[in-house]
Symmetry: C2
């Protein structure tokens, strides 16, 4: 799933270059490329499908030049994860109705790849030939209020625990209770199931979406697929797979682990993940000299130098034609700033 | 005089692009170009000579394309203002020993051009055919400790007052006394005199320099001039015209006025001079959106956008491959930062 937009990483992310296409670590690989590289180790690369918005097709082909165009599934508009997954499921079903599938966001970070891939392989075995729906859960290390939580029960098969409840972003108090209980895990947004199982789940819990894709199943994987997708997609319900299916379905399991996972949701989360100097400053991609500075994150293009003095707890980001300086504690305001930039005359180059 | 170097405007100024070549106001004209434009209104452009370091010759020709190469006087090394002025004087003397001349730094700002040019015309009349040495004085509006001061006496001819004393950069206490006295004026570094008068002053007060230029007077304004300048210049005494001549000479006068003058010595002085928004923020060349910000100066390349939050009293400057953020109160440390950048491995692109 590589269709996301988002302004929280502005000015590093832009409308025409959202987060999944960005190289956050100066490694030369974007989050999308890192996600592709990771899955290509357990799945034939030709079996990887990228679902994205039509406007990102060229960017995908540029970043993943070995991909065939047919591996890119183009959404004419954004309808959250349920229609996105229904589309991928329909395509795979047209090729092999007995297949199993992994669904993963293209813009998350995994630093413990071996553990992650091991979980993917075990998960695929667990769902293949069964009616299990599986999600990967992450053991929380802080009472994060920005994530969804999954409550695991004691029932299940070994590490694969049956899910009791899904809870969307809790308040801080509740998040603390969740963390201390040991029963709650972050919802990573990585799912596994057989095509047959998810198809039946759509029919049961999102019958309107299921019906639309059933209607066009005969053109899937043919030259006319895009035409029909463009027709049905805009009228699909805008709903997440979590709300639409996972919270209602039976036999939903969670496999929990420590994968060095982050959804890289904000500059603050990038700060938390990154190596720090003696004064807890983080420098990403560029070089820096700091004086009387602590707890800052500075992100400039590679090869660029930042000389900073007298800053504590700031985000400093420069990219192309824009510079952002903002207190880390106020990073939730970046969205508002971007809205204000949007209202500027001649703004089109900045967002 | 356009030979200066300086790191106080780093990263906007660089070794290969010092202050006089920079467009500080987004007008499309550098300080050098503005100085040239200004004097071309009272002096034929063909009579303007630029004295600079050899390494800036191409930059001068690029910025002032109508200049003939012969109007650029190249110093092989830096020897402060006395040898610089001796060189220009010798060249002019070879062309017309009865000429009068104005000496001015290329990197100062004048915002009241009519008043300034009026003073130049009156000053040239005052020195022509006399043995008067004249300097322009600026009425101080603050107890500045970074400038030289000129004490004017009551004697003189009208506005042209005889100078009592020159004082280099005073401490703050003394600067306050100077300002309150009403007798002291900032030394603008703009001088006028006849070639004959300054030639005699060199012979009297800086006889070694006078002798060197006398020796090569027969090659001045010929093809061999540069060759001989390159030979004598390195052995010239490194001394300012103020120390070397003005402090000792008789018949030194000062013409005081309000020309909207600034030597633009630091980011702080650019801040003080510039128009401010409701929160006393200054934005130079670029666009800006500010939140919880006051008393800052932000300078980015034209067309660029700065979004700033939670800054009070900072300098924010980005140019090419470097970004500087520094408290305005600590701007004297910029020199040290640049020295530190100089010590970085692979620093050559940054300074």
């Amino acid at each position: 799933m590589a269709g996301g937009v988002g302004s929280r990483f502005w000015p590093f992310s832009r409308n025409n270059r959202p987060k999944q296409f960005l190289d956050f670590f100066g490694t030369g690989r974007s989050l999308l490329q890192m996600t592709f590289d990771r899955f290509a180790k357990v799945v034939p690369a030709s079996n990887i499908l990228i679902v994205t918005n039509q406007s990102y097709k060229d960017m995908i082909l540029e970043q993943l030049p070995l991909l065939k165009e047919s591996q890119i599934l183009l959404e004419p508009n954004r309808r959250n994860t349920a229609p996105c997954i229904a589309y991928a499921m329909s395509r795979i079903r047209a090729i092999n109705p007995k297949a199993s599938m992994v669904v993963a966001p293209a813009d998350h970070l995994i630093t413990k790849e071996i553990e992650f891939l091991n979980a993917i392989e075990r998960g695929l075995n667990f769902v293949t030939g069964t009616n299990n729906l599986l999600t990967l859960g992450i053991k929380p290390n802080r009472p994060e209020t920005g994530y969804g939580y999954i409550q695991a029960s004691d029932e299940g098969e070994g590490d694969f625990k049956k899910v009791k409840t899904f809870t969307e972003k809790p308040n801080l108090e509740l998040a603390k209770v969740f963390m201390e209980s040991g029963e709650f895990f972050w919802n990573s947004g990585v799912f596994m199931w057989s095509v047959e199982t998810i198809y039946n789940a759509f029919k049961e819990f999102l019958p309107d979406i299921a019906a639309k894709f059933l209607e066009i199943s005969s053109v899937m994987n043919t030259d006319r697929e895009q035409e029909f997708i463009n027709e049905i997609f805009p009228s699909c319900q805008n709903i997440s797979i979590d709300y639409g299916i996972m919270e209602h379905a039976k036999s939903v399991h969670v496999l929990c682990g420590d994968f060095g996972w982050s959804d890289l949701g904000t500059w603050g989360s990038l700060y938390d993940l990154s190596p720090k100097d003696d004064n807890a400053n983080v420098t990403v991609k560029c070089k820096s000299l700091t004086y009387d500075c602590s707890n800052n994150i500075v992100v400039l293009p590679e090869g660029k130098l930042a000389v900073l003095q007298g800053l504590d707890g700031y985000i400093v980001v420069e990219s192309d034609n824009a510079l952002l300086i903002c207190k880390k504690d106020d990073e939730q305001r970046i969205r508002q700033f971007v809205n204000d930039v949007n209202l500027m005359p001649d703004n089109e180059n900045y967002i």
